[in-house]
C-alpha cells in the first residue's frame, strides 16, 4: 500500500503543488516568527553580555512598580550620588562609577527632525561617559571622550546610519525641550555592537549628563569592577552589606540576565505572540485548501480506490494510503516552509535596519516546530477526505457515471449549527462576561463562528451563486451561464473554497469595523473632551515644561495649561494620575461630572476620578485613597468627584500643586491652549506653530487636526493588520486557483465537448474566470457579513474603553468586495490557460 500511496503522490504532484504552497506559506510564517524573535533576543543577549562584561556588581535602587524603561525592562529607582563613595570604600572594589542612562536625548538631524530616536520609534538614550575602560560598555571607535560641556560622543550605529562624523555640530533635544548645540568629539560602540539594537545613545561628561538628563544628584546605577581574586558574588555580598535599604546589589551577570529576560518578555509579547496568532490564522486557512484538495483527489480517484477495495484492500489500508500521501506532502512542504521562513525573517530583519546585525538564530526547536506543525496540520486536515475515501464501496468501481452533486447530509448541518452556536456563546462570554480568560474565549469564539459558517456555507452556495450569477449570465451569455452553474454544481467544494477567503476577509472587515468605530468614537470623544483651541504633544515620552513656558509668554495665546501625568501605586497596582492647573480647567477641558465638582481639585490632595476607574475600583465621592508616589511618598487623597471617561485625561485628576512635590521632575503629557481674546484662530495657530518650531519633538495641532492625526494612526494600525492577514488571504486565493485547476482537470471531457459545440477559447477562459469570480464574491459576501457582525459585536463589547459609536466603513467594505473579485480573476489565470488548452479530440474520445 505504501507503494501505491507514493505512486499516487507522484502522479498527483502537480495537483498537490498548490496545497504544498499553502502549507509552505503557513509554516514559513511560523518559522519566520520564531527565527525573527530568536534573532532579536540573541542580539540583545550579546549586547547585554558584552556591555556588562567588565561589570562585577551593579548597585541600583529598588524596582519601581508598574514602570518600565524604554526597552521594556523593569525600571529601578535611582540611587544618590553620595552612595558612590560608600561603594568605592568596600574592600575588593577595584573601581566604581556612577551611571546615568535615561531615555530622552534626541539627536536632531540636518532636516530638523530627530534621527532614529523618538521620530523613528526607537528610544533615544542619553548617558554619562564612563572613563574606566574595564567597566564602560562604551568603546571609542574614533575621536575622543567628551571633556567639555558641549562635547558629545554618539553611538557608531547612529553615526553610520545618519552619516555623523567627529567634529560635526549636533543639535540635541532633551525631554522634548529646545535644541541645545553640541559638537561630536567621538564615536563609540556599545559592548561589541554598534549600538543598543537601534536606539540612539548620546554620551556626555558627567556634569552635562547630570544637567541635561535631570540627574538631580542621582545615578541610575553604580557599576563596580572587582579586584582580582574577588568573585562577583562575594563582592556583591560585601557591597550589599553596606547599602541602605533603598538600594540593592546584583552581579553584572545577573543584571545582564535580568535585562535579557525582560526584553525577551517584551519581544514575545509585542512581536512573537501577535505574529504567531497571524501564522495560526494562515495555517487555519491553509487547512481548508488541504481538505479541498484531498477531497477532490479522493473524488477523482474513487474508481481506483474502489478497485483496490474490490481487490481486497481493507478500509484501514485505504485510509492509510491517503494519510501517507498527506503526510509526505506535509513533510516536504514543512521543510520548504522552514527555508522560506528563513528568507522572511531575514527580510524582516533587514527592514529593522542595520540595528540587528547578528546572524540569524536558527534553533533546532524552530525546525522541529515547523516540521511537526506543518505535517500534523496537513495530515489532520486530510483526515476528513481520507475517511470519505474509506466509505467508497467496491461497487463504485463498476458504476458508469459518478454522481457529482451530493446533498448536504443532515449531520453536517447539525454539526455546523452546533459549532456556530458554541462559537457565538464563547464569543459573547469572552466579550461580555469579563472573566479572566476573555481573550482565549474570544479566540475560540471566532474559530467556532468561522468553522460553523464554513460547515453551513454549502447551503448558501446555490442561492448566492444564483444571485451573483445573474448579472454574469446577462453580461457573458453562455460562458456566464455555465460559470454560474459550475459554481453551484458542487456546493461543498465551492463553499470550502469560498470559506477560506471568508476567514481572511472577515478578520480584515472586523478590524476595519473596529477601527472605524474607534475613529468615530474618538472623534466624538475628542470633540467632547476638551474646549481648548490647540493641543501640543510629543509622540514619544512626556516632555519638559520649556514649551509650556514659552507658550505662556506668547500674547496671541491664552489659558496655556499643562497636563502632566505620572503613575502611582494604589492598593498595590499602578494607576495613571494626571495633574492640571485647576484655574484653567473649565476653559480647556470639557469634563462631564457624574458626581461632585471638578473645581474641588483646587484644594491640595484632592482628586476627581473617571467613571470607569470609579466603577472598577468601587470608589465614591468622599472616600480617601492612598497614592504611593514613585519617589516613595504615600499621600492620602480625598476623592471629591467622578467625571465621565474623557479622551484626553484618564484615571485620577489632581491639581499641579498636589502632584508637584511628589514627582522629581515636571513632565508634560499635553499642553492645551486657547487663542487669546481678540486673536483670530489663524493668527493664534501661526504664533503657536512658530513657538513650537523650537521644540523639534513636539507637534501642535488644532482640534480638527488632532482628530485627523489620531485617525491616521488608526489607519496605519488597520494597514498593519491587513498586511499580516495578507498571508491568509493569499492562501485563500491559492485555494481558489487550486479548486479551479482541479475542477478543470476533472471536467476535461466537458470542456472538450463545449469546445466541439462551438465555445471559443476566449469563451472557455471567460467561463472559468467567472466561476472564479463567483466563488471569490461568495467568499466576500460571507466574509463581509460575518466580519461586520463580529466587528459590531466586539465594538459594542468595548464600550467601556470608550467605543460608544459603532461605525461601519462602507467604503472599505466595497473595496474589499471589489478586491475579492480581482482576486477571483487572478486566481483564475492558470486554470483558464489550462481550460483553454484542452484538446477537444482527446477530451471527447478518451473514456
Amino acid at each position: 500500500m505504501l507503494k501505491i500511496s507514493l505512486r499516487s503522490l507522484l502522479s498527483h504532484k502537480l495537483r498537490l503543488a498548490l496545497t504544498t504552497l499553502a502549507v509552505i506559506l503557513g509554516v514559513s510564517f511560523v518559522a519566520g516568527t520564531f527565527i525573527l524573535t530568536d534573532t532579536i533576543n540573541a542580539t540583545f543577549t550579546s549586547i547585554f553580555n558584552a556591555a556588562n562584561a567588565g561589570v562585577a556588581v551593579t548597585v541600583h535602587g529598588l524596582q519601581i512598580a508598574g514602570q518600565d524603561n524604554a526597552i521594556g525592562g523593569a525600571r529601578n529607582h535611582p540611587v544618590p550620588t553620595s552612595l558612590l563613595a560608600t561603594v568605592r570604600g568596600v574592600d575588593g572594589v577595584k573601581d566604581a562609577v556612577g551611571n546615568i542612562f535615561r531615555n530622552g536625548a534626541s539627536l536632531i538631524g540636518s532636516d530638523g527632525k530627530p534621527v532614529g530616536g523618538n521620530g523613528g520609534g526607537e528610544p533615544a538614550f542619553g548617558a554619562n561617559w564612563i572613563a574606566d575602560p574595564e567597566i564602560s560598555p562604551y568603546h571609542l571607535r574614533s575621536g575622543v571622550a567628551p571633556r567639555q560641556p558641549g562635547d558629545v560622543v554618539v553611538d557608531a550605529g547612529t553615526a553610520s546610519k545618519s552619516h555623523l562624523v567627529v567634529g560635526q555640530a549636533l543639535p540635541i533635544v532633551f525631554g522634548g525641550g529646545a535644541e541645545e548645540h553640541f559638537t561630536i568629539t567621538g564615536i563609540a560602540g556599545y559592548g561589541t555592537s554598534d549600538n543598543l539594537a537601534g536606539a540612539t545613545i548620546a554620551l556626555f561628561t558627567e556634569a552635562t549628563a547630570e544637567r541635561v538628563l535631570e540627574g538631580q544628584n542621582m545615578y541610575d546605577s553604580i557599576l563596580v569592577s572587582a579586584q582580582s581574586g574577588v568573585t562577583d558574588i562575594a563582592l556583591r555580598d560585601r557591597i550589599a552589606a553596606t547599602l541602605p535599604a533603598s538600594a540593592e546589589a546584583t552581579t553584572g551577570q545577573a543584571a545582564a540576565a535580568a535585562a535579557e529576560l525582560s526584553t525577551e518578555t517584551t519581544i514575545n509579547t509585542f512581536i512573537g505572540t501577535p505574529l504567531l496568532v497571524f501564522a495560526f490564522i494562515s495555517l487555519f486557512v491553509g487547512c481548508f485548501l488541504i481538505i479541498n484538495t484531498f477531497n477532490i483527489l479522493v473524488a477523482q480517484r474513487t474508481r481506483e480506490l474502489a478497485l483496490l477495495r474490490a481487490l481486497g484492500a481493507t478500509r484501514a489500508q485505504v485510509l492509510r494510503s491517503v494519510l501517507i500521501e498527506a503526510g509526505v506532502t506535509g513533510l516536504v512542504a514543512s521543510i520548504l516552509g522552514f527555508g522560506v521562513g528563513i528568507l522572511i525573517a531575514s527580510l524582516l530583519l533587514s527592514l529593522f535596519g542595520s540595528a540587528l546585525t547578528s546572524n540569524l538564530s536558527l534553533q533546532p526547536r524552530t525546525f522541529i516546530v515547523a516540521v511537526v506543525v506543518g505535517t500534523l496540520v496537513t495530515v489532520l486536515a486530510a483526515t476528513l477526505p481520507a475517511r470519505r475515501a474509506t466509505r467508497i464501496s467496491p461497487v463504485a468501481a463498476l458504476s458508469e457515471a459518478l454522481p457529482e452533486t451530493q446533498a448536504l447530509p443532515r449531520r453536517r448541518i447539525i454539526a455546523g449549527a452546533v459549532i456556530l452556536t458554541i462559537g457565538c456563546a464563547a464569543l459573547i462570554a469572552g466579550l461580555f462576561a469579563g472573566t479572566g480568560s476573555a481573550l482565549q474565549l474570544v479566540g475560540v469564539g471566532f474559530l467556532g463562528v468561522f468553522l460553523g459558517v464554513a460547515l453551513l456555507a454549502p447551503l448558501l452556495v446555490a442561492p448566492i451563486a444564483t444571485v451573483l450569477g445573474w448579472p454574469v449570465r446577462r453580461l457573458r451569455g453562455a460562458p456566464g451561464l455555465l460559470a454560474a452553474e459550475n459554481a453551484r454544481r458542487n456546493p461543498r467544494r465551492t463553499a470550502l473554497t469560498a470559506a477560506a477567503l471568508m476567514i481572511g476577509l472577515a478578520l480584515v472587515t472586523c478590524v476595519a469595523v473596529l477601527t472605524d468605530s474607534v475613529r468615530a468614537s474618538t472623534n466624538n470623544a475628542i470633540a467632547g473632551a476638551f474646549r481648548a483651541d490647540f493641543i501640543v504633544f510629543d509622540q514619544g515620552p512626556s516632555f519638559n515644561s520649556q514649551a509650556a513656558t514659552a507658550l505662556t509668554h506668547d500674547s496671541k495665546l491664552a489659558d496655556v495649561t499643562e497636563v502632566r501625568s505620572t503613575s502611582v501605586l494604589i492598593k498595590g497596582s499602578s494607576q495613571d494620575i494626571a495633574a492640571i492647573d485647576p484655574s484653567n480647567l473649565s476653559k480647556v477641558l470639557a469634563l462631564t461630572m457624574l458626581g461632585g465638582d471638578a473645581s474641588t481639585i483646587a484644594s491640595t490632595n484632592t482628586a476627581i476620578v473617571d467613571s470607569s476607574e470609579a466603577t472598577s475600583s468601587n470608589l465614591h465621592v468622599g472616600q480617601v485613597v492612598s497614592f504611593n508616589f514613585p519617589q516613595g511618598a504615600t499621600v492620602p487623597i480625598h476623592i471629591a468627584g467622578i467625571y465621565k471617561a474623557n479622551a484626553l485625561v484618564t484615571g485620577y485628576l489632581v491639581s499641579l500643586a498636589t502632584m508637584q512635590p511628589n514627582v522629581p521632575t515636571a513632565r508634560d503629557d499635553l499642553v492645551l491652549a486657547n487663542a487669546a481674546p481678540g486673536v483670530s484662530q489663524t493668527d493664534a495657530a501661526a504664533a503657536l506653530h512658530h513657538d513650537v518650531a523650537a521644540y523639534p519633538l513636539l507637534l501642535a495641532k488644532s482640534r480638527d487636526e488632532y482628530r485627523a492625526f489620531v485617525g491616521a494612526s488608526l489607519d496605519s494600525f488597520l494597514n498593519l493588520v491587513t498586511t499580516l492577514l495578507a498571508f491568509a488571504i493569499i492562501i485563500a486565493v491559492l485555494g481558489i486557483a487550486n479548486t479551479l485547476a482541479l475542477s478543470v482537470l476533472e471536467r476535461t471531457r466537458e470542456l472538450g465537448l463545449l469546445r466541439a459545440l462551438g465555445l471559443t477559447r476566449s469563451q472557455t477562459r471567460s467561463m472559468v474566470r467567472w466561476e472564479s469570480v463567483i466563488i471569490s464574491l461568495l467568499g466576500a459576501v460571507l466574509g463581509l457579513v460575518v466580519g461586520t457582525v463580529l466587528g459590531v459585536v466586539v465594538a459594542s463589547a468595548l464600550s467601556s474603553l470608550g467605543i460608544d459609536t459603532i461605525s461601519i466603513p462602507g467604503g472599505n467594505l466595497i473595496i474589499y468586495a471589489v478586491g475579492a473579485g480581482v482576486f477571483g480573476v487572478l486566481a483564475a489565470i492558470v486554470p483558464t490557460i489550462r481550460a483553454a488548452r484542452v484538446d477537444i479530440l482527446r477530451a471527447i474520445t478518451t473514456e
Binding site: 451561464l481 453551484r488 466537458e750 459545440l757 462551438g758 479530440l841 474520445t845
Partner: protein, 264 residues
Amino acid sequence: MATGPAGVTADPAIATPETSQPPAALAARTSEAVKVYGRGDASVRALDGVTVGFAKGQFTAIMGPSGSGKSTLLHCVAGLDRLTSGEVYIGEVELSGLGDRQLTMLRRVKVGFIFQSYNLVPTLSAEDNIVLPLTIAGRKADPAALAEVVRITGLGDRLRHRPNELSGGQQQRVAAARALASQPEIIFADEPTGNLDSRSTTELLDFLSRAVETLGQTIVMVTHDPLAAAHADRIVFLADGRVVEEVHAPTADTVLDVMRHLGG
C-alpha cells in the same frame, strides 16, 4: 432478398448514383484526405487518400472494421482535427486554411455532433443542453423549430430534468436534439447507438431518419451495427484508411452481404 450485392460496385471511382441524374449539392466533402498519426516507424496512416462527398439532405452511414479510420474521417470533416494532406470542405469552405477561432465559429454554425457517450453538460437541464449551441453562439432559439425538434424527440415532459435523471436512450435523444436545434448544415454522429439497447437504438434511428425526411437534415453516422446502417440512404465502407465500397439505399441484408464480402 435475392438481389444479392446488386447496386454495389467495387470501384469507388464510379460509386455515384447509378442513374444519370446530376450530382446533388454537397454539404461536405474530402479530396485525397490523408491523416498520419505519429512519426517514423510508429506512424499510422489512419486516412490514406479518402475522397468522399456527403450530399445535402442525405443520411450517410460510414462502416468498416475497427481501426479503419472512421472516427478519424469524421473528426477531420467536422473540423475537430486537421488533415496531414488533402482537402476537406464544409459547404464551400476549405477547412485546412482556417484558424482555431474560425473553426470554432464554423462548428458553432454549420456542424452538429452526436457522440457515443452522450456528452451532455451535467449542470444543465435537458432543455438548456438542447439550446446550448445557440446559447454559446448568443442566438435565440426559433421557438417553432425548437418545438418541432422537441416534439420529434418525444422528450416533452422531461425537459426540466438534468442528464443524470434521464436514461441513456433519453440522454442520447437530448444529444440528438441538441445537434438539430441549431439547424446545422451537417450532423456528425460517431457510433451514437453504441451504448443503447435495441429499443433505444430504434427510437434514435427513427428520430434521425425523420430529421432527414421532414427537416431535410444532412447526417453522417459512423456505426458498426448493420441494422443501424440500414436506416441510411447510403453507406460508405472504409478499410485501412481507404474507401472500399459504397452501397445506396441499403437494407440489412445488403449490408451484411457487403460486410461478408469485404471481410472475406
